[in-house]
Symmetry: D4
Amino acid sequence: MFWSVYLSGEVHTDWRDQIQAGAEAAGLDVTFAAPVTHHEASDDCGVAILGAESNKFWHDHKGAQVNAIRTRTLIEDADIVVVRFGEKYKQWNAAFDAGYAAALGKPIIIMHQDEHAHALKEVDAAALAVAKTPEQVVQILTYVIEGKLAGYTD
Amino acid sequence: MFWSVYLSGEVHTDWRDQIQAGAEAAGLDVTFAAPVTHHEASDDCGVAILGAESNKFWHDHKGAQVNAIRTRTLIEDADIVVVRFGEKYKQWNAAFDAGYAAALGKPIIIMHQDEHAHALKEVDAAALAVAKTPEQVVQILTYVIEGKLAGYTD
Amino acid sequence: MFWSVYLSGEVHTDWRDQIQAGAEAAGLDVTFAAPVTHHEASDDCGVAILGAESNKFWHDHKGAQVNAIRTRTLIEDADIVVVRFGEKYKQWNAAFDAGYAAALGKPIIIMHQDEHAHALKEVDAAALAVAKTPEQVVQILTYVIEGKLAGYTD
Amino acid sequence: MFWSVYLSGEVHTDWRDQIQAGAEAAGLDVTFAAPVTHHEASDDCGVAILGAESNKFWHDHKGAQVNAIRTRTLIEDADIVVVRFGEKYKQWNAAFDAGYAAALGKPIIIMHQDEHAHALKEVDAAALAVAKTPEQVVQILTYVIEGKLAGYTD
Amino acid sequence: MFWSVYLSGEVHTDWRDQIQAGAEAAGLDVTFAAPVTHHEASDDCGVAILGAESNKFWHDHKGAQVNAIRTRTLIEDADIVVVRFGEKYKQWNAAFDAGYAAALGKPIIIMHQDEHAHALKEVDAAALAVAKTPEQVVQILTYVIEGKLAGYTD
Amino acid sequence: MFWSVYLSGEVHTDWRDQIQAGAEAAGLDVTFAAPVTHHEASDDCGVAILGAESNKFWHDHKGAQVNAIRTRTLIEDADIVVVRFGEKYKQWNAAFDAGYAAALGKPIIIMHQDEHAHALKEVDAAALAVAKTPEQVVQILTYVIEGKLAGYTD
Amino acid sequence: MFWSVYLSGEVHTDWRDQIQAGAEAAGLDVTFAAPVTHHEASDDCGVAILGAESNKFWHDHKGAQVNAIRTRTLIEDADIVVVRFGEKYKQWNAAFDAGYAAALGKPIIIMHQDEHAHALKEVDAAALAVAKTPEQVVQILTYVIEGKLAGYTD
Amino acid sequence: MFWSVYLSGEVHTDWRDQIQAGAEAAGLDVTFAAPVTHHEASDDCGVAILGAESNKFWHDHKGAQVNAIRTRTLIEDADIVVVRFGEKYKQWNAAFDAGYAAALGKPIIIMHQDEHAHALKEVDAAALAVAKTPEQVVQILTYVIEGKLAGYTD
């Protein structure tokens, strides 16, 4: 089986690159997908393609709907959904994606630091793993996909 | 048809009471459901019933899972899901519920003030209505359930 | 079993009233649902409740989405979906409802006059009955729900 | 991920060719599917293969059902459904396809000119993008599949 | 829980009446549904309501589709589906109903005499009980619904 | 909302009676369902109704399938599934029910003593609560259904 | 898209070979699947592998269930299901497969001669095409998959 | 079609190797999947990757949830699920997997010795085959996938 993993959430650090590099180094049969992480493109895609809006609400709405074509399709196609919450911002779209994945029955891995543990308890409660670092996610994927756990040999 | 409406999100103001009072005044065939809104009970239900945890993470986890028995069942039973985002706090569980309802194909009404419009654009993009006040929600329910719109008579 | 029937489509004649009167006269265990048939209310409900839009497209969009809360819920709740195409107008929402009901696996009865038979052939092909008059629909419901067919006695 | 896109609707202009050419020029990982666009073959396929019908209604019915084997299968297989409404004709099958795709939860892109905006408001309300030109559709696909938006570079 | 049981198949003997009388005598919380068992009405309902057909195939087709509005709805609504195969006739609609119920995951009880056991082996293999008499079906329903088995007392 | 709760598992103690008495004392809007708990009837129902089998395997098989008509229907109808593992016996049907409920997405409460915690870790991992006593289950139901938690008042 | 077609029903003539040869000659992107058509193997597979049964009913039962592993999986995997009814035998498994495919929403092509039209009317009513010859099925597949209809050129 | 088979249950003997070797010798188009069978790695994966737990229950819980990412995904991806019950231990996770697969409608093959037949009767009742040896499973797969049964030639 070839696994597909969707990486949702925070777009300001290189955590996706770290996971992908780690998975490649581990030789995993996996493909990664993600939302468009170019912040301005993501905000403007609706009006840039379909025409300007004078009202900021509809500017945002058109962009968010075009992005939804990508994100909902990729989440539904994923075998595993990873959602990272960063230290800043509201990140409601990350929590939305987690809820969306949960209702579809997708195995979910949530990433966040301890400081957000209480605020994320309902989201964590829907996850099968709560991690802090990209390295942990790579280790989970290595275990789940290849059955290998460092330090445990036959 | 008897409609069921789930009221998710912010628990610090009386918006649920206002909607229910308005719906009752309008004589709508509707029942409302909601998460447990007693903040301390919601936080402690897991350990209070199932035994204390020394680790705060598991304290939270047990509570969040017990709450999930209620919230997921009621969202799945709902015909319409209303999610209100307040002015404060992360409210990731509200966004999680919105995503959960969206993946189930539930009609969603999102409530928030203008200041959060940009941060909530992906959530709004999954909604069939974006409202600001409980009165607007009552008007939507009156229109949707009874087909009545103030000022429009036969 | 108590049957629910959704009556979609044309809003300019009294065909719904005729079907309901006929079903009542026949004493059928059935409830009927329909979109809001007040044309102006249906067009304006979005902006009347949620605020005016200077752009006509968004005026229409807000209204159509509020109506969708009602129509999609009632179609999903229906045991049988009847869709009538009148003699005039594009009526794309009627065809949309028929497609929506078809994908949900609902039994569909289409009503139209002969002149539209060719243009509606794909829609008719998804139906279990193609009728011309409200009286025929009442007879179908009487047969389907009560098992009674005029002229056929034990 | 390899994306599949279904192009439903109007069959009198070369909009499908334009989208496919544009997608090929952009090097997208995408395959396109469509109904049979040969008008006479589409009308006659039922009787040509399965035997003539003296009654025009059943002539149409047999053809529409044979076409449905193709169209329903391809819509269900699609990741994205594009539906174009032309300037002429009733095009009820296009609206039917849009409703069918909507009930399946497919991301939908609707194409039409401004003159049909009001009549198509319920259909547009179920879409994630409303476009006017094939070029816009290619830009959406390029953004959704490749994450690239003209003018927005890293 | 109030149970609904669909009684499909053979229409020439009074097996349905026997099951209903037995269930009533046992005081079970159950409602029974069935296809229209008036043979001529069932054959002619399509043309009687929707207009005559010169071609016998379409005469049958219209009737079979009108009957399908009833039968598919009631099978989908049923908690248990009972299908009786009589001694005579092809009874392909009975086997069709069994397959339909099986794909929906409904618990199935098949009724037939020993002589048909080999020919019905694929159908029996999808059933949770294979009975010969109405009395056995009543006993199964009494056990399943009330938990009572004659001769086994606390 | 009226809640239905299925009580699966161990049949040798009166834990079901305790839960039902507690729920009644708490005035909860809930109905309980369970497998047939009469051990001999449960073993023999198949052959007692449908005829004796000389081979013990088929004796068991007929009984297990008749019981499945009841248990699968009631689990699918349940809002919450409680599974209790006793101190003795293999109880594979209890674990089977837990897996069945998990795949259906039902909220699950598992009951067992500490000694079985390690052996049940995969089952517990699919649950939203792990309890030891009937009283805890009553408290969970009281909290989930009524929102009341002893010691937490407004 | 690569199409998969399941060929259910009659096993005494070479209709499957004719369809496959025709599809190959037409160069269609299609794979065919079928039940095991070796009559004795199909009857005996259960006992030959899993041990003899003295009771003929269980001999048949074991075989029918082993065959079901193959047939249900392949029907669920199919894009199109073709079911041929021959001139002889009860063929209840063919009708069962048609019902099974219908409930899954698969496009169905039924093959039979005129003499069985009335007895198969409920089965035909669930089909999108009713054919008599393997050549017609090949023509349908050619049209549906390739969009080509003999005699209709651009 | 390329078949995927999930091998659940007992991890102390080499039955999986025997089945895979047999399938390879038979040249079957099949891939096998399984839980992680390294006992210690399976127990410790949660804490080894995500951090130690002082409480054994949460140690087990974290591990069981990480394993669930693998096992649930692979069961859902499988065409056939084989579950072997060994002679020792509780093996509740095996029965859980069988119930999970049953609710998903997967064809199930159960493997166990005669001594467990009565205790496993509810699990067997959900299976399409009950086998004792790896060789029997290989024969079933050979028959189901290739249609070949030893001793039955054309």
